[in-house]
């Protein structure tokens, strides 16, 4: 395993006495795809919400490149290179597909009010560059044709694909993907997995929450099984799949 890129240490989060995270620890290396599996209510999405700053942790650390993400606001975490998708799909459905992608680029000059009025040329120029980048991303994923239509016209699977494209546009180095292939057609699954598989070669790391175990086994370098807010098992996909504790939790 390469040097710790993301190191999660003893994260705790309680909701009215229920421990959603009970001292969860794990680490992700640079260019690694970590699968996170476990039953419903195991605390997987809570973990994402804590790492991405949407929920405050009660205790623990999440060191991303040595910097603790806990206590930082969501937009600062996103700007430091951590992108996420949401289980219940968050996109701006009323805006065009292209606008959703454009929105995801970080540090746009045109998002500063001063530039909007006094350096308009610079805004236009960077917008044009982003537009081209967005189009090439959409082309690669087969969404380019409908780029100017509203995002709500896309099928469920395509919307999941689009939220992944948004993470790519953010040029994040750590992607937190919450059930990217759940509930979509097999061809679409293949397409999404193909994109995920290519991420490490671009130096990106991934934590993947997914109930579709075949998908997890296919793309993940390492898998963590969590239950009741804690890590139960960890290892290669094969090892975790054959771990009696995991089998017991899933079947028993």
């Amino acid at each position: 395993m390469s040097a710790a890129f993301l190191q999660i240490k003893g994260l705790e989060k309680r909701f009215d006495g229920v421990k959603a995270l009970a001292g969860f620890s794990c680490s992700v290396g640079e260019g690694e795809i970590l699968g996170l599996i476990g039953p419903n209510g195991a605390g997987k999405t809570t973990l994402f919400n804590v790492i991405s700053g949407f929920l405050a942790a009660d205790r623990g650390k999440a060191l991303y490149r040595g910097k603790d993400l806990i206590g930082m606001s969501p937009h600062r975490i996103a700007n430091s290179g951590v992108a996420r998708t949401f289980q219940n799909l968050r996109l701006i459905r009323q805006l065009s597909i292209l606008d959703n992608v454009l929105l995801s680029f970080r540090n746009q000059p045109g998002e500063r009010l001063g530039n909007v009025f006094f350096r308009w040329k610079k805004c236009i120029q960077s917008e044009e560059e982003n537009r081209q980048k967005a189009f090439s991303l959409l082309k690669e994923t087969g969404l380019a044709e409908k780029a100017n239509g509203p995002a709500e016209d896309l099928s469920y699977g395509q919307q999941k694909l689009l939220s992944l494209v948004c993470c790519l546009a953010a040029e994040a180095d750590l992607l937190l993907l919450d059930e990217p292939v759940a509930g979509i057609a097999p061809e679409a699954i293949e397409k999404i997995l193909e994109i995920i598989r290519r991420l490490p070669s671009q130096g990106k790391s991934v934590i993947l929450i997914e109930h579709n175990l075949d998908a997890v086994m296919e793309v993940c370098d390492r898998v963590v099984f969590m239950d009741a807010g804690a890590k139960v098992s960890e290892g290669t996909p094969e090892e975790v799949r054959n771990d009696p504790k995991v089998i017991e939790a899933y079947i028993g």
Partner: protein, 300 residues
């Protein structure tokens, strides 16, 4: 065309111009960013009083007064905008209502400074680089220039990446945060700009009518401005313009039906109320709107 008729028509056009400024600036806050505020008449009033008091007491020139009106209103806009970071939707409307009521009370009760209910008469005509604004035509040109400037500012913002973030905040704040946008900063900035622009309308109104009193800046006025935005179409650039034309001219038409004047004022209120209800029921997006004030589930 007789002179009084001409002046009457110019008067209507000047009022339309002032309401285009008010509605466009509120559109930035409510239409693009999705934060409903019923404090807009307060910023309008603050602008009017700053411009009037400075002209009367300090005898400074109009453009200086407008600048100070924008500055003070903008600062107070930030004060109102900051709670919007902590309280959401319906509750925030109440907070803006409180600001509206407080502003009215200050204008009405701080008699030594604002003359209270007696109002401020005799506000001098503006002079801009030697141009004495005196006739109705002059005022129309002045108001038109500021209305065009305001409209252009709102347009520039709306069509920029900054404006795209505003729309993202309106539709889904969590997504905006997840894409790294400093939602709090955007909201406060939008409030500062919206309040500052409303102050321009106030300054123009003060010098045009040459008399102001607090009753022009009540919550009813705020609701009138919101009606213009909603009926014209929230989140569209031309919506506030269409809304201002319709809502300013429509009650004027009542004059020609021959209703007694005491009766006509009441009919006007009924008309606004009825229009608003009708639009909410049959065309919640207004004439040109992109965005309707409905919950996500109800929205088409």
């Amino acid at each position: 065309m007789t002179r009084p008729l001409m002046e009457y028509l110019l008067h209507i056009l000047i009022l339309i111009g002032i309401y285009v400024i008010l509605a466009s600036s509120l559109n930035l806050i409510a239409g693009y960013t999705g934060i409903l505020s019923i404090a807009h008449a307060a910023f309008y009033g603050i602008g009017a009083y700053v411009a009037a008091l400075m002209a009367l007491r300090l005898e400074t020139s109009f453009l200086v007064n407008v600048f100070c009106a924008i500055a003070l209103s903008g600062i107070l806009g930030a004060v109102v905008g900051i709670p919007s970071l902590r309280i959401r939707d319906d509750y925030f409307v109440i907070a803006t209502f409180a600001f509206q009521v407080i502003t009215f009370s200050v204008l009405n009760n701080w008699v030594s400074f604002t003359s209270g209910p007696m109002g401020l008469p005799g506000i001098p005509q503006p002079v801009i680089f030697g141009w004495v604004v005196s006739s109705h035509w002059d005022y129309l040109v002045l108001v038109f220039c500021f209305a065009a400037l305001t409209w252009w500012i709102v347009r520039r913002i709306a069509l920029s990446p900054f404006g795209r973030v505003l729309q993202a905040i309106r539709e889904d704040e969590v997504f905006a945060l997840a894409t790294g946008k400093n939602v709090a900063l955007y909201k406060v900035l939008v409030f500062i700009i919206g309040a500052g622009l409303a102050a321009i309308a106030g300054s123009l109104y003060a010098v045009y009518i040459s008399f102001i009193d607090p009753t022009s800046f009540t919550v009813m006025e705020s609701i009138f401005i919101i009606s213009i935005v909603i009926i014209g179409g929230a989140g569209s650039l031309w919506g506030p313009v269409v809304g201002a034309v319709v809502l300013v001219t429509l009650p004027e038409l009542l004059r020609f039906v021959g209703l007694p004047s005491a009766f006509a004022a009441n009919v006007r209120q009924i008309l606004y109320g009825g229009l608003l209800v009708a639009f909410m029921m049959w065309r919640p997006r207004g004439f040109l709107g992109e965005y309707s004030f409905q919950s996500g589930e109800v929205r088409e």
